[in-house]
């Protein structure tokens, strides 16, 4: 179990895939010390971000309604210090470049590994 903070870290998981949301939520909760919020598209993620200001956002790229890059842009407009990690199946150099330009702190190619989640969480812990 990885206990990161005395208060649970708020993590927003945004992916249109029910399976990926479930897998990420299960993995995060198993690591411990987190409170997980879920969004199934970019628009929902922006709304949840405004209300809860999570310490970390795990954001898919290809989604209906509002895609990951546009969502990232809007979250950054709300909070320039937002920590957003892209998790995507289409990890092309072009998508990586765009995401980093918009302020993503990391870019994970699916299928993700638990070590990558731990690394992202540790990075946020280092900032707190």
């Amino acid at each position: 179990m990885l206990v990161l903070l005395s208060n649970p870290m708020k993590v927003l998981v945004c992916d249109d895939s029910l399976l990926i949301r479930r897998q990420l939520k299960d993995a995060l909760e198993k690591l411990g010390g987190v409170e997980v919020y879920e969004a199934s598209n970019g628009e929902e993620a922006v709304e949840i971000y405004k209300e809860n200001f999570p310490e970390l956002v795990l954001l898919d790229l290809v989604m209906p309604v509002l895609n990951g890059l546009d969502c990232l842009k809007q979250i950054k407009e709300i909070d320039d210090n937002a920590s957003v990690v892209m998790i995507t199946s289409t990890g092309t150099k072009e998508n990586l470049r765009k995401a980093l330009e918009l302020g993503a702190i990391d870019f994970i190619q699916k299928p993700w590994k638990e070590e990558q989640l731990i690394s992202a969480l540790s990075r946020i812990k280092g900032r707190c």
């Binding site: 895939s17 990890g91 299928p111």
Partner: protein, 294 residues
């Protein structure tokens, strides 16, 4: 892949059922090819002779090769050569597994192997390509994308799908030789558009009876009575596969963007009817791949 085509042939002839074929496919990974089976495949012995030697082995404390030499069916040099190739031969694993599990005897296997080569409708070149087992060659021999724009990419797409079925579904796939389009209206079909460098409709269609088990393999979790999660898993499998494909294409300077994946459970959509349909068999079910320019 030769032996899996042979399995499909036995299924179509009603010599095996779906259940027995599945049991054989699961068992065949651990099978050791017997010298007699190899001798039969190479035409050095017939099924009756192999059966006879195995029966004699039950009452004599001798190896198969020794008895076969004594009976005059094989020479010592042939036995030595067969033993050398015993571990290399993979095209006979299905037949050996069918014998080990009691679904065929040696005489039946001998006869059906000959029938397969004569009745399967496959050319000598196609049979040779199957025996060699080179996936890229098999795809090119059995799927005709020649009239399609960007045919090379389509071949690459299918080859990657086969690798991803092994990687993410833990299944050994083989292409359906029967090129007839199947009715997919009752299936669950997930699809995704790729666009930019060119425009490709991609879809995979799976019967409702088979989707749960495939989804569980991908999601690595139980999905009994949870069709929504199973559909999500198959959708994500296509999304993941397409993502890897777009990365590969990007590395070659061909940029694609992916639409969010979608699903249809009733009827078909136009691109499915107009596109190429490629059947990919696995031990746990069949995946119909649909590829179409749009």
């Amino acid at each position: 892949m030769y032996d899996k085509f042979f399995g499909s042939y036995l299924l179509n002839k009603n010599i095996l059922t779906n259940e027995s074929l599945r049991e054989i496919l699961e068992h065949m990974q651990t099978v050791r090819i017997k010298v007699g089976t190899l001798a039969m495949k190479e035409g050095l012995m017939n099924g009756t002779q192999v059966e006879e030697v195995f029966q004699l082995q039950k009452v004599q404390d001798k190896k198969f090769g020794e008895i076969a030499v004594e009976k005059g069916y094989l020479t010592n040099a042939q036995v030595e050569r067969l033993l050398e190739h015993q571990s290399e031969e993979s095209n006979l694993q299905l037949g050996q597994a069918a014998i080990d599990l009691g679904y065929l005897n040696y005489e039946q296997l001998d006869e059906e192997l000959k029938n397969f080569e004569n009745e399967s409708g496959l050319s000598k070149i196609q049979l040779k390509v199957l025996e060699e087992g080179d996936t890229d060659k098999i795809i090119r021999e059995f799927i005709d994308f020649k009239d399609s724009p960007h045919s090379q990419m389509y071949y690459d797409y299918v080859a990657l799908l086969l690798r991803n079925i092994i990687r993410f579904l833990d299944q050994q796939p083989w292409i359906d030789v029967n090129k007839k389009k199947e009715e997919l209206a009752q299936n669950i079909t997930v699809y995704q558009y790729l666009e930019n460098y060119s425009r490709i409709f991609t879809g995979i269609s799976i019967s409702q009876d088979e989707i749960i088990e495939m989804a569980e393999k991908f999601g690595k979790m139980s999905m009994k009575d949870d069709m929504e999660m199973a559909e999500s898993a198959i959708t994500e499998f296509l999304n993941l596969h397409n993502g890897i494909f777009t990365v590969n294409m990007s590395d070659q300077g061909r940029e694609y963007e992916m639409s969010p994946p979608a699903i249809t459970k009733e009827g078909t959509i136009d691109e499915m009817n107009a596109g190429h349909q490629i059947g990919v068999n696995t031990a746990i079910g069949k995946i119909h791949l649909i590829l179409a320019p749009y």
